[in-house]
C-alpha cells in the first residue's frame, strides 16, 4: 500500500491579508476554503473530506458545520505548524482508501489582531512550563548547541534570511520586502541567544487552503497536474531525558520514507519548501533531509546557495515565513502552496525555477528544542 500518485493537489489559496482586524478567524478559514475551491474549479458540495488543526476554532466538528460541509472523512490531527503537511499525507491516505474524493485542508488565524489559542501543555507541564519555553529560546538552544558541536556561525545562519529576503522583494503580499544583508541580520537586536531579530520569522494574520483529490477528478479539471509521490511524518522530544541531542530533528525519520516512497533522492529536487520558523530551523532540516552532511548546513546555506537563480537549491521562493507570511505562527500550508506554484510554473517570474517538475516540502511543528513533529512530502508535476 502506497499513497504514491494516488492524490493530486488541485487547488491552492494563500490569503493575501497579513493584518485582518476586520475579519473573524472562522471567516478567514472560509475565505481560504473558497479561494482553494475556486482555484481548483470545484464547489463546496464536492468536498467530502475536511482536515484542520489547532488553529480552527473549536476543531473539525464546529468548523465543518460553520462551513456547511457534509463529510465522510474528518481529521483534526494537531502537530503545530506542520499539521498541514501531515494533513496532506492523511488526505492522500483517505483518498487512496476511497474514504473521500475531494479533501479540503484549511489554516487561518489572527495573532496580530486577536487572542491566540492558549498553548496546550501535556504531562510535562509542571516540569517545564515555569521555565518559560517560547519559540525563540527553544530554537535558540538548538542553534547554540549546533554552533558548539559544528562551528556553525551567526553569519551562516544569516544567509537563510538573506535568501528569503531576495525572494520576498518580488512578492507584493510579503510582510518584509526589503533585501537584507548578512550584516543586517547579525547586527539586529539579540532576541534569544544566539538568535537575532532577523533570524526570526514574521508574525502574520492570514491563512491558506488546499484541495486534494483523486487522479480522475484532478484530470477532469483545468489546472496543471501536481501529485503527491511520497510522504513521511514523525515526532521527537526529550525522550525521558535519554541521549538528548538538539542538533537533529524528526526530519531524520520523516524524510527518508518520503523520498523512498517517491523513488527519488534529495539531489533530484528542483525546488525545496523548508519550514523557516527561524534560520536555524532551515539549517538543521536541510541536514536531516540529506541535502548535506550533519553539521555542514551552515556551509550549505552560505553564499546565496538557497537563492533562486543563484544557488544550487532554490528554496522558499515566496519569501517564506522569514519574510512573507507565517499565518498564526504556522508555516506548513504556505510551504505546500509555494511548492505547487513552482510545479505549476506559477511562481513569480523572477524566482520561478525553469522546468520545475520535482519538489520537496518539509516542516516542523511544536518546539524544535523541546518536543516537535515533522512531515515531509514529495510533489511532482505530471
Amino acid at each position: 500500500m502506497t499513497i504514491k500518485n494516488k492524490a493530486y493537489i488541485a487547488g491552492i489559496y494563500e490569503h493575501p491579508t497579513r493584518h485582518a482586524p476586520d475579519k473573524s478567524t472562522a471567516q478567514l478559514h472560509a475565505e481560504c476554503a473558497k479561494g482553494a475551491l475556486d482555484d481548483a474549479g470545484l464547489t463546496k458540495a464536492d468536498v467530502d473530506g475536511y482536515f484542520c488543526a489547532g488553529d480552527a476554532p473549536g476543531g473539525v466538528m464546529p468548523m465543518a458545520d460553520y462551513l456547511g460541509l457534509k463529510l465522510r472523512h474528518l481529521d483534526s490531527t494537531e502537530t503545530g505548524g506542520c499539521s498541514y503537511i501531515i494533513a496532506l499525507g492523511h488526505a492522500a491516505e483517505a483518498i487512496a482508501a476511497g474514504k473521500c474524493s475531494v479533501a479540503l485542508i484549511t489554516l487561518a488565524g489572527k495573532p496580530r489582531t486577536g487572542p491566540m489559542p492558549p498553548r496546550a501543555y501535556g504531562p510535562e507541564m509542571d516540569f517545564e512550563m515555569a521555565y518559560g519555553p517560547t519559540t525563540h529560546n527553544a530554537y535558540g538552544m538548538c542553534a547554540m548547541r549546533h554552533m558548539h558541536d559544528f562551528g556553525t556561525t551567526s553569519e551562516q545562519l544569516a544567509w537563510v534570511k538573506v535568501a528569503a529576503s531576495h525572494h520576498a522583494q518580488y512578492n507584493p503580499h510579503a510582510m518584509l520586502r526589503d533585501v537584507v544583508t548578512v550584516e543586517d541580520v547579525v547586527n539586529s537586536p539579540m532576541i534569544s541567544d544566539p538568535l537575532h531579530r532577523l533570524d526570526c520569522c514574521v508574525v502574520s494574520d492570514g491563512g491558506g487552503a488546499l484541495i486534494v483529490t483523486t487522479p480522475e477528478i484532478a484530470k477532469s479539471l483545468k489546472r496543471p497536474l501536481v501529485r503527491l509521490t511520497g510522504h513521511g511524518e514523525s515526532n521527537k522530544g526529550p525522550n525521558g531525558g535519554r541521549n538528548l541531542d538538539l542538533t537533529y530533528s524528526a526530519a531524520v525519520w520523516s524524510g527518508p520514507p518520503a523520498f523512498a516512497e517517491a523513488g527519488v533522492t534529495p539531489k533530484d529536487m528542483k525546488y525545496a519548501s523548508i519550514y523557516d520558523s527561524f534560520t536555524i530551523t532551515v539549517v538543521i532540516q536541510l541536514e536531516d533531509l540529506g541535502f548535506c552532511k550533519k553539521g555542514d548546513g551552515g556551509k550549505f546555506v552560505a553564499d546565496g546557495n538557497l537563492i533562486s537563480g543563484v544557488g544550487k537549491l532554490p528554496w522558499n521562493t515566496d519569501g517564506g515565513g522569514l519574510c512573507n507570511n507565517h499565518p498564526i505562527n504556522r508555516g506548513g500550508i504556505t510551504k505546500i502552496i509555494e511548492a505547487v506554484r513552482q510545479l505549476r510554473g506559477e511562481a513569480h517570474p523572477k524566482v520561478q525555477v525553469p522546468n520545475c517538475d520535482l519538489a520537496v516540502v518539509h516542516g516542523t511543528g511544536g518546539l524544535l528544542g523541546v518536543r516537535h513533529a515533522a512531515s515531509t512530502a514529495i510533489l511532482e508535476r505530471v
Binding site: A138, R145, G240, R242
Partner: protein, 130 residues
C-alpha cells in the same frame, strides 16, 4: 540573590505528588526502571523506554553540566536563561539557570540544583558551581 520572579506553583497529580513532596524536603528525585535499569526525567509511572511499570524513585545528587541554553532577552519579566542540564545520573532536563551572571553561561559548565519557592511545592532550578 533574589527569588523574583515568582514562579507558578506545580499543579501536581497522583503520579508526580511524591516528587513534589520530596522537593519540599530539599530532595531532587528522578525515576529509575527496575526492569531495564534506565533512569528517566520527568517522572512517569511506566518506563518510557521498556514500558515496565517497575519504576522507582531515586534521589539524584542534583549535579550535572549544561547541555545547551538560550538567554531570552525580550521578556516582560526580564531576561532569563533556559537550557538543558545533563545530570550525572544520565537524564537531561529542561530548567532555568539562576543566581549567576546569565551572560557568562557556557555549554559544559558544571551546575547544581537549587530550589525556589512557589505558593505550593518549590521548583528545581540550576546554578553554576565553582
Amino acid at each position: 540573590m533574589t527569588d523574583k520572579p515568582k514562579y507558578p506553583a506545580p499543579v501536581t497529580n497522583p503520579e508526580t505528588a511524591h516528587f513534589w513532596e520530596a522537593a519540599k524536603q530539599g530532595k531532587f528525585l528522578i525515576k529509575r526502571c527496575k526492569a531495564c535499569g534506565e533512569p528517566h526525567y520527568f517522572p512517569r509511572s511506566i518506563c518510557p523506554f521498556c514500558f515496565s511499570d517497575k519504576t522507582e524513585w531515586e534521589e539524584s545528587k542534583g549535579e550535572g553540566e549544561i547541555y545547551s541554553y538560550s538567554l531570552m532577552r525580550k521578556s516582560p519579566t526580564g531576561p532569563y536563561a533556559m537550557g538543558y542540564v545533563t545530570l550525572d545520573e544520565g537524564p537531561s532536563l529542561l530548567t532555568n539557570f539562576v543566581d549567576c551572571d546569565l551572560t557568562a553561561l557556557k555549554i559544559g559548565q558544571r551546575v547544581k540544583v537549587v530550589f525556589k519557592p512557589t505558593d505550593g511545592a518549590p521548583l528545581p532550578f540550576f546554578t553554576p558551581v565553582g
